[in-house]
């Protein structure tokens, strides 16, 4: 039932867009209590379903202007930011958000790079440990000022002109 209501709301919104958008000259002008900033705050979280990698708040196409107007109408109807974003994802898929809402896709997106990075880290650590194990005895950090401080030697070499 809730789903059905959502469809009805969307249908009403679309009908209103077609009729109202034609008569509005300044398409991003304010309507009622909803400001452009409120619309853009949500539009900035949605990607244009048509253009690649452009958020709705910055996209200059007529289609995006219509979608921004749709967000305005949804706000006027009392929909929350979360509901509006969910509605766009429901209609256009997870490509309209910067990080997918679908739990499986979200996990795939956010967790995978860390798994790969951890894998790289473990591999590097393993290689270094193995090489060190095969090498002669480990030299401990030395506090001996005469032999240990290569940094100072290097620095003095720089300033001495030698």
């Amino acid at each position: 039932m809730r789903q059905l209501m959502k469809y009805v709301q969307v249908l009403i919104a679309l009908v209103m867009i077609v009729s109202i958008a034609r008569t509005v000259n300044a398409q991003d002008g304010t309507t009622g209590a909803i400001t452009d900033d409120m619309v853009n705050a949500i539009a900035a979280k949605l990607y244009c379903p048509v253009c690649e990698n452009i958020t709705l708040d910055t996209c200059g196409t007529a289609a995006c202007a219509d979608w921004r107007y749709e967000i305005r109408l949804q706000l006027e109807q009392g929909m929350t930011e979360e509901q509006i974003v969910e509605d766009f994802v429901h209609r256009f898929g997870d490509r309209v958000v910067g990080t997918p809402l679908d739990p499986a896709l979200r996990a795939l997106s956010l967790v995978t790079p860390w798994i790969i990075i951890a894998g790289v880290l473990v591999t590097v650590a393993y290689i270094i440990t193995r090489r060190n194990a095969n090498a002669p005895a480990l030299v401990q950090p030395s506090n001996d000022e005469t032999t240990g401080n290569r940094y100072q030697d290097m620095f003095e070499q720089d300033i001495s002109g030698s």
Binding site: D37, L108, G148
Partner: protein
Amino acid sequence: MLAEIGLISTLFAFIAALYAIVASVYGERFAHSRALVTSGRNAVYLNFVLMTVSVISLQIALMTQQYQISYVWSVSSPSMPDFFRFTALWGSQAGSILFWSFLMSAFTAGATFLNWKSQRRLMPYAIAYMMAVVAFFVGVTLFIENPFDRWWILPTGDVVASAFIPVGAVAPSAAQLAETANGLNPLLRHFGMAIHPPMLYLGFVGFVIPFAFAMAALASGDLSTNWIKVSRRWALVAWVFLSLGLILGGRWAYDVLGWGGYWGWDPVENAAFLPWLIGTAYLHSVMIQEKRGMLKTWNMFLVIGTFSAVIFATFATRSGLVDSVHSFARSEIGFPMFAFWFLLTIVSVWLILWRSSRGELKDDHQLKSLFSREALFVLNNFVFIALFVAIFWGSFGAPIISELFMNTNITLGADYFLQVTPPLFILLFILMGVAPVSAWGAASLARMGRAMLIPLALAAASVGLFVVGGVTEIGALFGYGIVLLAGWVAIVETVRGILARQRVHQENLLTSLLALITRNPRRYGGYLIHLGITVIGLGVIGSTLFQQETQQTLAVGETLNIGIYELRYDGFLANQIAEDGRVMDIAELTLFRDGVEVAHLRPRRDFFPEATDMNSMTIAGAHSTVENDFYVILVNWEQISASSATFKVYINPLINLIWWGGLILIVGTMLAGYPRETMPIRVREKLRAVPQGA
């Protein structure tokens, strides 16, 4: 005539490249003939001359409006000014690949000329690898994306583009072609486009030299430090161009794309950033091999990985892969580019593993301390690779895998990148602060801690100034502190050197500074690069965390307020025709700061009647100060009277630090790459005159 000259010279350039490969390898490996190898070298020079002829032919065709050449027709028009005719050379795929091939040919000829005598053993193989890459791109130009194709009308009435005259075809009339010419993509009609693509291409193609020398070392078995000496300097050259290309790209996006930002985490931007990350890791780790004879295998992987990333970035952005994995398959250059990238990477990795398995890439030393400089550089390399993985995954990995295996399209945007990359960037800045004060070989935490005391105190004091200035967000202050620590370490280390030198030689500050830099340009150039990155970091934090924006519709005479600024809408100039034919709609605004008038701004919307695809462009109005940019975009206006208009306004704090940091980075890189052996005689004599051991 120009089309024929261009086509023939490109064809012979292709043949010369193939000959150079065969003569170099056969002459060195099988015939042991120096004469044959030398003829291979001469073919490299011939290739460069022929590619120069080819590029000049297309450039002349663009400047003289030879619209029968389909490329000229597609990227220029009679109303375009000469400046944009010139930049139209790289305004579309075919021309840009020709230009790319020419630059690569120039790099190859330069590297061959400069290293022929000093690297006799490596040169035949290096020539073969460099020319193999050149041959591939020239081949793409010749057989797939030919910029010298001409328009022909077939007897059936169809119009086709072809390099050769089809049977019975006639050329369209010049007047008809001029009338229908497309003109350059409006987004490319910007001064930044004259510099940004060539810089990026130079950065990309420049990495062919370190790659070729690494491969030459692997193929020839000369795995001494010879290839490192050559490749490091060429890698620096490529790196500085790539850095410049990325920064200019950001500036172009900021000026032209009209969204108030400079980096959108777009796959095309990210694709160019990926080789930069691995290249930067290489420039750090190569020092370990030079100083300690370590990470030999790793360096091979990095230098080859950098070039592989260059080819992948080229493939991804030119094949349509960025839009969809399916459009890549439809693209004509998609499969050849993919096959080339795959082959190049597989052969390179196989060669590394082969040499490594024979024990020829064994390190001279092992890591001895977790706080030694080499250990910190390894960690630095790991962070760069982690950033590469995260950005690659977000730009290409996740979208491709979800489309191929989950039957859904996803786009990972700024949301993803701003969740995953900040911890890695923080770690990178911490390492930038710590590594310069660590020592090669064995080192202790206590010694490093002592060296860090002053920079830490200065960073804390600087953060205190931000607090006094009104910044209270803990995250921002932490970010500023980490970034500033890296910068202060660079400054303190340099000042420490100057003061010590002053004490010893009784010189003035400037003389000490110059002497210090000329004695070790690599180290102090490196510090300057770190300082540049610090300045960029401050700009990124400021403009990301403290950006303010509002969008409002104003009637003439009305004002809007944002922060300390007030903006008044004064009027509108509609349908202004520019010299290049664009139609401009300009809003006139006055900006006040604390009630005082500070600037007149003219944001505008440009419309290009002749353009077929994207035909409008938003040009922001901006008022720049050290503190921030006031940036305003004309969103819309009342069409008939323009009595009201909608503006989107941003205040971008510290954003100009990004461009200035970029300049510092460039100067630092030039310094770091400055060859000591070519120092002016006067400087060398002065250095020699300094008493030894003084």
